[in-house]
Every structure is written in C-alpha cells, then in structure tokens.
Subunit: 331 residues, 4 copies
Amino acid sequence: MNSFGRLFRVSLFGESHGPSVGVVVDGCPAGMLLTAVDLEEDLARRRPGPKGTTARREPDEPIIEAGVAGDRTTGAPIVIRFVNRYFDSAAYDELANTPRPGHADFTSRAQYGQHYDHRGGGHLSGRLTVGLVAAGVIAKKLIAPTMVQARLVEIDGSEEIDAVIAEAIEAEDSVGGIVECGAQEVPLGLGEPFFDSAESLLSHLVFSIGGVRGIEFGAGFAASRMRGSEHNDPILSTTGATASNHAGGINGGITNGNDLSFRVAIKPTSSIAQPQQTVNMDTGEPVELCVEGRHDACIALRIPVILEAATAIVLCDLQMIHHASRVVAPG
Amino acid sequence: MNSFGRLFRVSLFGESHGPSVGVVVDGCPAGMLLTAVDLEEDLARRRPGPKGTTARREPDEPIIEAGVAGDRTTGAPIVIRFVNRYFDSAAYDELANTPRPGHADFTSRAQYGQHYDHRGGGHLSGRLTVGLVAAGVIAKKLIAPTMVQARLVEIDGSEEIDAVIAEAIEAEDSVGGIVECGAQEVPLGLGEPFFDSAESLLSHLVFSIGGVRGIEFGAGFAASRMRGSEHNDPILSTTGATASNHAGGINGGITNGNDLSFRVAIKPTSSIAQPQQTVNMDTGEPVELCVEGRHDACIALRIPVILEAATAIVLCDLQMIHHASRVVAPG
Amino acid sequence: MNSFGRLFRVSLFGESHGPSVGVVVDGCPAGMLLTAVDLEEDLARRRPGPKGTTARREPDEPIIEAGVAGDRTTGAPIVIRFVNRYFDSAAYDELANTPRPGHADFTSRAQYGQHYDHRGGGHLSGRLTVGLVAAGVIAKKLIAPTMVQARLVEIDGSEEIDAVIAEAIEAEDSVGGIVECGAQEVPLGLGEPFFDSAESLLSHLVFSIGGVRGIEFGAGFAASRMRGSEHNDPILSTTGATASNHAGGINGGITNGNDLSFRVAIKPTSSIAQPQQTVNMDTGEPVELCVEGRHDACIALRIPVILEAATAIVLCDLQMIHHASRVVAPG
Amino acid sequence: MNSFGRLFRVSLFGESHGPSVGVVVDGCPAGMLLTAVDLEEDLARRRPGPKGTTARREPDEPIIEAGVAGDRTTGAPIVIRFVNRYFDSAAYDELANTPRPGHADFTSRAQYGQHYDHRGGGHLSGRLTVGLVAAGVIAKKLIAPTMVQARLVEIDGSEEIDAVIAEAIEAEDSVGGIVECGAQEVPLGLGEPFFDSAESLLSHLVFSIGGVRGIEFGAGFAASRMRGSEHNDPILSTTGATASNHAGGINGGITNGNDLSFRVAIKPTSSIAQPQQTVNMDTGEPVELCVEGRHDACIALRIPVILEAATAIVLCDLQMIHHASRVVAPG
C-alpha cells in the first residue's frame, strides 16, 4: 500500500499529470506550529533549479487541507496538497506503447494494465516526493533536537559535480551519484530486534525513493573487507560513545546514541535524449527511442532533502514507538 | 514488532539461552505438504559446521506444534519450534556489565533495561534465524516455480575463502564477506509503487538479519558511476527481456520479469578472542575484554540460506498481494 | 489511526469547519469506471434533507483529486475531496469551555488538548462520513454482484417514523433508532478465524460511525434467550443453504453463503435545544447549556447509506484477502 | 490474520486436537514479573468444571517458552503454550462430511478446503481461548490500576442460572446468555476518532470469541428508544464525572474517564445431543445428526474471564498508543 509507519503514518497520493499530488500524515500530535512557511525551505531544496535538473517549473505551493487550525496541528490527519500546473502530456501519448528503458513504463503496465496513468510516470513519478518532503518537515519538527542532514558527495564517481554534469548534458546523457545522510542527537534505543530494526525501516523507506540502487550503513560494503578487530567500535563510556563509528550508529538494529550515518547510491536518470533500444508493445517490433521533454540530467542533485525526509519520518515513528513501550509501568 | 508480512506473515520468538526458539507463519494456504524432512536441507545449510563457524552444535530438530495435520498445512498458523539444548550461560554472567564492542549488549540494555536476557545475545541472537530459515522453506514451496539461490562470493575482499578464514582464526580475528542472491522465474508485476516497492520489502527483511551492513540491487553502487546510456537496460521483447540487467530485475519498485539480483555486505563477526576496549557500565571504568566461547569466525558463511529465506518470504507475500488485486473484476 | 483495511484501505481526513473533508482509497484495482455521477446517489441519500435532519446544506460535490484518469481508476490511491462551504463557527466559540453532554467535546479535549479543532465536532464530526460513503460506492462496485442494503426499521421504539420525529422536534428533543443491514450474494468463505472474523471487521468499522451504541448479528441478543435446538440453522444443501438464518450469514467468523444480516442501535442525537447540565472547564462552575444551531433531530435517518458503505468496504477487503490466499497453489 | 494489536500484539496458534495451543504476546515491556502462578486464577476460571461445561478436562498447564527469564519479562515476544492431552478425535471422523449445524464445519471447509483440521473444531475451537486468557493476564498486569471485571448476568433470559442449565441438560439442549463487562479506573483519552474508536477495537476483539452474537455499550440497544434529553449524561465536574453513564464510558470513540461498561450476547452452544438436520457433503443426502461427545451445555458460563482478557488486551494496546502520542513534545 502507499502508506508507511506504525504510529506516525505517511501516505502519498497523486499522479504526475493529475489534478494534484500530496500527502496525508496521520498520528502527528496536536498543538505543533505548522504553516506553509515551515515547508518552504525544504520544498525549495527539492525543487528543480540547478543545472542538471528538469525544466518543469512547478511552484509547489502547499495547500494545507486538513489537520491544522490557527497554525497549529489539531491531532487529526494532516493533508497537504500541491496542484499540478505545468505539465505537458502530449509527449507521453506516443510513449504509451514503447516502454522507456530504465523507467517503470513496462512494469507499471504489467502491474496495473492499460488503465495505468503513464503520463509523466503517473503515480510512480518523482513528483510524488514533494509530499514526502512535506511530511519530512513535520517529522523534523517532531524529532528535534535530533538533526538530519544529507548531502551529495559524489557524481559519476567524481567530486567535481558541476563539471561532470555539464559534460553529461553536453553528451545528451545522464549521471548518477552518492548521497550521504547523517543524524545527530539520535536518542539511544530506537529500533526493534529483527523485523523492525532501525536499518530495516530506514532502508524500507529509502528504497521507496525512485532511483536508489543501494544503501550501506556505517562502514557498509567496506565492512565486508575489514577484520573484526578493526571493524568493532571500541566503547569509551557508559553513554555508549565509541572511538570509531563503523556501526553507523546502530547495533543489533537499535540506535546506540552515536551519530546515524548511511550512504545511498543513485542511478543515472533514465530519461536521456540519446537513442535507446526498446520495443513496440503492440507489434513486438524493435524501436529506437529518444526521450524528449524536460528531465533531470542528474536526479541525485535533488535527493538529499528527500533522503532527509525519509530519515526523519522513520526516526519520528521509532521515537513514538519507543516512548509507548517505556511508559507502561510493569507491575 | 517481531512480525513481517501483510498476507504471509512471519513472527520469530525465543532467546538464545531460553527454552526454545521458533517461528509462527500465518497465512499459509491449506493443503500444502509439509514435514520435518522438507526443512532438513535448509536447516543443515544454516547449521554451523565448516571451519569458521561456531562450535555450539544444536541439532535444530523442528517440532511442528500447529498448523499441520497429516503432513499437510491446515490453513491455521504454523508454529515450528526448536528446543535449545547445548548452551552455556556461565560465560555471559560476567559480561552483564561490560558490553561487547560490535554487539547489541549496550543497545539492548538501553532498549529493554536490566531485565533483558543478554545471555548469548538473547532475542537478538543469530540463533533466531533458524526460525526464519524454516519459514523460508515454506515460502519457497509456495512460490515455486520461482527459485531463489544465494551464495557467498567474497570473504574479506578475496575469493580464496578457506585460506582467508584459516588465517583469521589463526590471528584470533574474524572476517566479513559478500553474499549474492538471485531469483529466477520471478513473476512480472510484484511490488508496489513507493512504500512497498520490491526493494523496500526485500531490504527491510534483509536488514533484520544480524551483521548485514549494506545491500545493492542490480548494478548497485556501481550504478552511481555509470552514465544513463550505459545503465539503462535495452528492452528486447514484449515479455520485458532486456539485453543487460543493471536494474536487478526491478523497475520502479516492481519486478520486471527478469532475474532478481542483489548483493549484501556482511560485517566481520563481532566476537573475537583478541582484547577489545569497552567499559564497566556500573563503574564507568575502562575494561579490556576478550570474548571467550564458541563463535563464528565468519558469519557470512551461514548467511546464504538465511538470505534465501528472507527473499522467498518477501516474494511469497508479494505474490499473494499481487493476486489479491488482480482477481476482483472491476465493474 | 484513521485508516481501515488490509488490501482495500480507506483513510478519512478533514474537519467539519476546515477547508475540506475527504477520503483516500488505497488498493482499488485499475480499470474500474469511476466518475462523480457514480457517487451521486449515495451522497444524496446521506445528505440532510428530510425533516429531522440538520439544516446545514452542503452540496457535497466530489472532487476526484487522484487515482482516476479518463474516468477509470489507475491503480494508484484514489482521493476524493469535498469542500466545506456552509459552516458557521461563531456558535462554537462559546462552547470551547463548556463540553456538550453526549458529545466528544470533553474527550477530544482530553485526547488532543486545547489545540483540537472543536468547531462542529472537528475531525469527529458526522461530516466525515461523506468520505466513507464515497469509499462505499467504490467498494460496492468492486464487490458486485454482492448487494448491500440498509434501512431504518425503528425510531424511538416505533415504526411510525414521521410522527415520532415531528413530536421530538416539537419537544426540542431528539430520538434514536434501529437500522438493519443485509447483503445478498455474499461469497462463501469470507473472514478469518479469531481476530479477523467477519463480525469483528464489520463491527470494527460500524462502531467507527458516530452514534452507534450496539450491533447484533442474525438472531443477536435474542439468541441469548434461545435453546440450541431452536437457534441452530438446519443445513439443507451442500451449498450451505439453511432453513433459518439465526447465524446472520456467518459461522465461526466466516461467511456461509447465506444472506448477511445485522442490526445496529443508534442513539438519539446529542445536540438538543433543551437546557442540559455541564460544567465550565476553566472555573469548574456548573453551566446550563442549550445547544443552538442546525442539528439532526434523528441521525438514524442518515445512517443507512453510511452503514452500507461500511459493510461494502469490509466485504471488499475480505474478498481481496480471500482471493489472495486462494491463488497460491500449494506444492 | 491471527494477530491483534498495534503495539501490544497478541497472536493465537494451535488446533483443538493438535500437539498444543498457545499465544504469542509481542510488545510487552521488559521487567514485569510473570510466572505460571500469575496465570493460574484466570485459567481456572476458564477451565470447564461447573455443571453445564464440557467434560474434557485439560490441565491447562502453561509452558512459558520465550520472553521470560528469571520470572521477569525480557522485552522479547512472550510465548505461552498449552499441550493438548485429553482429546479423542475418533468421534470427528464421521463428522468430516456432515457439517454440524451452528458450527463452523461448513465454513471452515469452504475457507480452507479438505485439509482443514476439523477435529474438535480445529483452529476455530473454543480451546484457543486459553491463549487469549493467558494474554489477558499479562494485559491486566500492565494496565493496573485499571480493573476489568465480567460476569454472567442472564442465562436463557433468566437469572436463575443453575435451574435453567439443569433443565437444558435434561432436555439434551443448550442455552445462551448475557455477559456484562466493566472496567474501573480507565484512563481518560483512550481511543481514536473513527476507525480505531474504543468501541471499534473492543468489539473487534470481542467478536473474535466464538458464540458472541451481539455487543452493546452503555445504554446500548435501549438507547435507540431514548430521547436525547434522557440519554445524554449530564457532566458534573471538570474530571468528566457524569450523573448517569448511558455512554458506557466512551464519547466519540474516546474513553471519558468514567467506568467502561458493555454487554455481550452469547448464543446457545451449537453442539446438542438432539437430532438435527444437516447434509452429507459428498452425496447431498439429508442427514439427521446427533452430536455426541463432551460439550458445554452453556458456553456463556466460561465467557466472563475470556471477555475480561479481550477487554484488558484492547485497553493495554490503547494505553500504549496513548502514551506514544503524548510524549513527543511538539515544537
């Protein structure tokens, strides 16, 4: 289903070329200040703009439909909606029968049949992440003083981001990248053994973001090439402070009070103007396809704020669950 | 909570040094043949044995407590239990106040307080995976003809597995590794957009396995260094067959009918005989700790069958969900 | 949380005096015809109008924000929104500190604190049922040929409905009633033993409707005064047809193929113009309160279509779950 | 599925004539004292014994398999198992093709097919409630000082319980009854608007108990024949104390701090020695069936402690959820 979370539950709705997209946030406590202004900064970070991002310019003005009165949350589900204004579906009509390589055209057709709204990717469009970012703002407020920060650390294996992107655009190609995410002042004791480990929940939500191909916590894949004597983080104090942080802030699925740290691999944007090989779904004939339209040459540029939102949402849910099990005094 | 799955739901119970560990599988259709013999092969693959695995020798004899009558599933929840026989808790008493680096001793104490059963890792022990493997056998039967196979491809960055492990044991150290998992004949159309993408669910369950530090699908982290023109898989036919499989069998969170393919990074075992730095939780004094007892020098050796189980469980749940949405004929 | 359902999931949002109220329906298969016209009849049945219902006249024009393109469902979550137009919050300002007897003013303040939007009952308002009715229309289409029908059978213990209501209005009082609900052509085998019995799920959703005080299936409370020889329904054929239907169409929590039949008790509307005793929450002083405004003298009048919606939603979810467990062929 | 609860989750397993039945309780905080002795009193209350209950005499000795160490809960899932000792499946073999009227034989066959373990009712047997009672003991300890008490108030419409049962046994018939359940010192503010109202969750769990045909809260069905001026409970103080309790302790789905009060209708036991009409499922021939064996003439006698368990489980889950939403301080 399109919902995530046990006590702090986020649901996304909408389609890229439908009337609007948005988010329902259920479980937010009453009394929290929340206005459109609060959402502005993170929405702006997600919005296309820098070179390498799509030319579709949506204003992303949040309409708070429910759950807020007098600038404060009421305890009821919060609904934030964004009207889709500047889309052009014409380009998609001819795509209906020629699935774009790397995209979900083929699989969404398999999943939903011919009535799936494939225009702009439909419900699977990256446009849906605008709602996730809005939910992330709410979560960030709730988990304060925990701070979540993500940043792009690498594009196409290089740190020279601008140059690499310029080159890719020139080549009518696209590039991927690596985004690093961290959280500070994370409470000790979040996460549950086995199925709801902190890594399980974080990766669950992170892999719901289009374009993510991998995730690693702490030392990550490099841990597979370490010895235990090197990888184990020496424990320095009763607060759990450690000399290194190869665990990425999590042991046994439970946060250990150190900084949370993980990295995410983002694939190159699937839409490229170069000709690519696909097939006509009606005739079975091979087709050479050039994807026209306004696309990001590098979606990784826009991922950091989305990754922060995903992280904050998980931490918020875990924090609420954590408190719940704490307060029932066992006889 | 210690449950996973929407229609095919698996719950683990038990503690390493408690009376027994086991699994509840809810949602298995009635009428499937299931005997202890069916479980044998996979349980044997998980059982320690090869050099580099722990010397604790549990027979892992499955007791089917419920959900099976006359060798067939009844439709009611299946409970499979494994008695804990050969454990020695003595070694753990002195560990109570000195958390082992890399282990969940510190975090489980934070999460559950002093009454957590820390002996042998308690509920967070790798011993719990015996129930997951049993559930995996059931799932594998249900998803046939889909086949799931995992194998260890690298230890400590090397493919010379035996030599590396012998060297690590000699050095009183431990090593990590990389396990690759694939599935063939995966139905097209499994997974849902956004929150229940196939990658989301797979990674959720995979990160519940102790020692996993990272996961990557298809080209994975390497995708971040590819151009779109290289990474996009050319589509060859209306069945979705592609010339390459950088997507790992999933587009937009939905299986595309190609082989599923992902890799998992396993950290080196935390328990090592070498002295490590930790702290006395009562006094705050630094302590130099050598972890005695029977431990795996390389847990990665035992991960493949566990990873297969996790994969089969997710595919089984997705398959059941997939059918559900298919059969209600919309008016 | 404000969601219900495992595969066909309904979430309500909005507040009586907020911008809009509505519903998210997740899990509806793609390809079903759905237009505003489909919703008209049931929305009209819920809309106030007959004597004894509130004078607040909302047009209840459904805005389909998502999940439908070209008049067909796309498989993505469906969002239907109703703008709140004709409300007058002035009357509620003085009510903020004097909880109305029978209403949720006191409890919602306890649950959410001072920031709960109490105007018109806020999120707990009967207005929210407009979204439930919209979801019910979708469910009814999906479960066809199963037919669900509810009707008011008794007001204030009498069948002379018009006369009783006229008298209550005259007396500045309100009345309750009994609503009967039935379903025909219900598939055999819906519902699960124990926790997800058909009665469990139906009652769960029915008690979410404001004003419901009791529910009984089949012979209901009268069954407690029957002998087994009288209550047991003689089985007439291998299709499960029975000579009587004291079971209400359900045995052991599972539908038996006969008509589903249950009755619901509705309390008299809490808002009455007569003076009632309450308390000033700031001062603790007793207050005599007359509830002004536009209220239903008998909410039971509007319950039938809401009850049908609740029933159809449960049957739809159960039907999807039923199919899911059916189609995985056990080896 | 066979699970209930969001943070305090109870799952039942087992079959009447299988190796054992039992319960998994997930989410119980660590550190609570729990021994077999704690379970004794409530298990004894459920155990058959008084005239009118079955002659199958199971000792119901609880085996605590997991989640408890040193007489205290560890925070991990608690598993309590009861071995089935004294059952006789012979009588059920001939029943396989002649569904007993009033029982789930016909529906469970429809739901699960021929491999359902129908002996003694299988997984749908009242025997399963032994696990519910055990979970109820845990919940009761957790919710203290809230007290839950249920009692049988009426058998076959009469309060002369012993005489009525003696007469029914004499007549080879069975009788139903009414059980009343109340809770004192219930925290204010439990329950959520709409889908997770206190009544919704209570009725959900109560209708999972076999034989329940109706439930009513507070004034219940009688409320449908009251005027608002009579039904509304006058509010006496800022603590929410009311002059009457027609609401049964719940307004708008949320507990109001007054005593919780509801009544449940129990049908007469389906198994009676008198001849009843059914059908041979293979041949379609009518069959006159006398149900032999050891059965309760009045299951209502054993319901009170089961109802208390159901109530305590719901209140425990609601209390944990309540705390969760309280403790995240909104910025």
